[in-house]
Amino acid sequence: MEADVPILRVDAVSKAFGSTQAVDSVSLHVECGEVFGLLGPNGAGKSTLLRMLLDIYRPDMGVVEVFGHRLCRRDLDSIGYLPEARGLYLRRTVIQVLTYLGELKGLDKAEAIQSADYWLDALGMEASRESKIKTLSKGNQQKIQLISTLLAKPKLLIWDEPFSGLDPVNVVLLRDLIAQLKSSGISMILSTHLMAQAEALCDRVGLLHAGRLIRHGSVAQLRADLGVDVVQIQTGADLDGGEQWPMIAEVEAESSVDGSQERLYTVRLTDGASPTDLLQVLMRRSATVSLLRPLKPSLEEIFLHAVQS
């Protein structure tokens, strides 16, 4: 595979179930070593899209390419998949389940056991090796599911809601693991509804709504696209003056500042207005300004704005 070829390229794929259009002409790509976040509410089409990336569902239209060629079954050995609706054989032991799943990924039995032991050790689960799955806590079962995706040294990981069900300690452990996997060159697709996690972990994100990819790019790029429309400003001027401040759409918060005549405002600017416009007006009116800080929109705000628009 050539170095500049995306590890995954999805070109205009669509999938309908009866009269329901689950995925509608979605195109995206994931670069080598990149973490791509797939965001969207329930029913947005995330799981259907991910299933098409794994040939579980065949697209009605469009093409899925992995590792520089059209997806074929053999490629699945190099893709680790953690679905949202996931489970394990409850009556089997941890090592039995991992060996089986490793063998299904093309490893021979000895390789599967060796790899399982490595990851059990890495995630602090070695003591549960011979335990039956049903005796493990939900969080530990989830760690076994995560390990199952790593057994065959995947080049691409697709994890659907990997943080759900994990306690805070394991959330940190998983975040570290993602960073470690990324640094070792593994590409990842994280499907999540936790915007903060996506913002912290993903190089780029795609926002999926009603089966369509409504925005995609880096979080910074999405912010830039959206523009900065909320600022925090500490000033001696009275910003509640209504028509005197045509660039202010709304004062969202206001508080006094100890030991100062100034007040701290959080204001939403009107469409097209910039923080500089507000600053220039304050200067012209000789108002004191101690602080002017643009507030970055969160990924959640970006998503909501994108959905609304």
Partner: protein, 466 residues
């Protein structure tokens, strides 16, 4: 040049085998399987032995085994009107002498074992005919009237009658009396006559092999048992043996039919468990739904076969003891093929049913229609164990969904015309293929679905569109 298998096919086969191995071990290590493996054969042996116990209770243990006290002589009469003789007088004399020597040897061994040199006996007699618990003397009678008289007075326990037409149209009759043993096929006297008659058949170089086979078959299974005139008890015993002879192979055949239900039931459970535990999507990221279904069918088929074979082997013992197993290798093979095709057919349908259902209980409800259809011949069991061809049995054995069990029962109960067997196998093969093709389509689409069961119209659209 070295042959290397097509990589994709090799990869596919390897995964199917991984699934099959996993399914096999997951199933055979379950407590339920082990309990069934041990419990079912015991239950079946008890069921199989019930007719024998009934016979033994009605006629006493002697009636069952046909053996007298070891020191007494069982006299088997022979009316041999065939020419050349069906059993040569020289061979009969030699047999009787051999039996006398065997008895003498036994007596000497029991009285003063240290003074007997076994080597001195070995060369003088044929130990093949020696039965330590029975001494059989074969006595020739001039005609049927004399033989009847001998049976009536108890001088002979039974008389074999070989008519003058024996070599042309084999028609052997055994005249039995009130004291005759019930289980002829295992009686030493019966075996002795067969042994002598077989020797004569082997010596007839003018006969072709087909004629020889026909003669042997008559000796082994197609002889006629006739009771003394006016003795109802003998008639009843003859009927009872005939009934047992029909029933027992059918019971044995039903062991084969059981594999269809046992193994496809395992498959239904396996799919249900994977739907319940939600591991399916993880599996489907590595293996296609079709390969998953095929691996399950293979692994669980072997698990079911193992269980069925054990049941069949344990059932075989009593049948051999009772002398009621008259099945040939061809019949057994045909039964196995029917069971395999029936399994392929019903496992595909059960797999699809399990995929449509959201859990195991719903899966069993969904698949009940298949189970009832497949087991319909069992509900009509009596039509399969009466003599003569029954229309219902023929229809059921040709209709594909009932054919596997029906044909197995028919094969067990007696000969089936070759054309019917061929038609039945052909329809079963075609239906198994269609069931696999359509079942796997439904399996692929329904396997990840949750919630309520789709309507039949939707399932039909899956079957049509794939």
């Amino acid at each position: 040049m070295q042959f290397s298998p097509e990589p994709e096919l090799d990869n596919k086969l390897r995964r199917v085998l991984v699934v099959a191995r996993h399914e096999f071990w997951s199933t055979v290590s379950r407590v339920g399987y082990i309990v069934t493996l041990i419990g079912m054969p015991i239950a079946l042996v008890v069921i199989t032995l019930l007719p024998a116990l009934s016979i033994a209770l009605s006629g006493g243990p002697q009636a069952l085994t046909g053996l007298k006290d070891p020191d007494e002589v069982t006299v088997i009469g022979l009316v041999d009107e065939a020419s050349p003789a069906a059993a040569s007088p020289e061979a009969i004399a030699w047999h009787n002498q051999d039996q006398a020597l065997a008895a003498e040897e036994k007596r000497a061994l029991s009285e003063s074992p240290s003074q007997v040199d076994p080597a001195s006996w070995r060369d003088s007699r044929d130990r093949g005919g020696f039965q330590p618990d029975a001494r059989v003397e074969i006595r020739r009678y001039s005609d049927e009237e004399a033989a009847t008289q001998a049976v009536r007075t108890g001088e002979a326990d039974a008389v074999w009658i070989f008519p003058s037409t024996y070599w042309r149209t084999p028609d052997v009759t055994i005249l039995i009396g009130r004291t005759s043993p019930t289980k002829w096929r295992v009686h030493p006297g019966h075996r002795a006559i067969i042994r002598l008659a077989r020797t004569s058949i082997a010596e007839r170089t003018a006969l072709d092999q087909a004629s020889k086979d026909r003669l042997i078959k008559v000796l082994e299974t197609e002889y006629k048992l006739v009771g003394l005139e006016g003795e109802a008890d003998t008639d009843a015993r003859t009927t009872r043996e005939s009934f047992t002879a029909l029933l027992m192979p059918a019971v044995f055949g039903s062991f084969f039919a059981v594999i269809i239900f046992v193994a496809s039931g395992y498959l239904l459970d396996s799919v249900g468990e994977e739907k319940e535990t939600r591991i399916l999507e993880i599996l489907l990221a590595s293996v296609t739904p079709e390969d998953l279904l095929l691996g399950k069918m293979l692994g669980l088929g072997v698990a079911g076969l193992l269980q069925t074979l054990l049941m069949a082997l344990l059932g075989l013992g009593p049948l051999i003891i009772l002398g009621s197993l008259t099945l040939g290798l061809g019949q057994l093979l045909a039964m196995f093929v029917c069971a395999a095709l029936g399994y392929a057919m019903y496992a595909s349908l059960m797999g699809a049913s399990g995929a449509i259902a959201s859990n195991r209980i719903e899966g069993r409800q969904t698949s009940a229609a298949w189970t009832i259809t497949a087991s319909l011949p069992f509900f009509l069991f009596p039509v399969f164990i009466v003599e003569g061809e029954q229309l219902v049995a023929v229809v059921l054995s040709l209709f594909p969904l009932t054919a596997p069990v029906a044909m197995i029962l028919r094969l067990g109960a007696g000969a089936v015309p070759a054309w019917q067997l061929m038609v039945s196998l052909a329809t079963m093969t075609a239906t198994a293929w269609l069931a696999w093709r359509f079942g796997s389509r439904v399996f692929r689409i329904a396997i990840l679905m949750t919630g309520s069961r789709p309507p039949l119209r939707t399932i039909w659209s899956w079957i049509r569109t794939g």
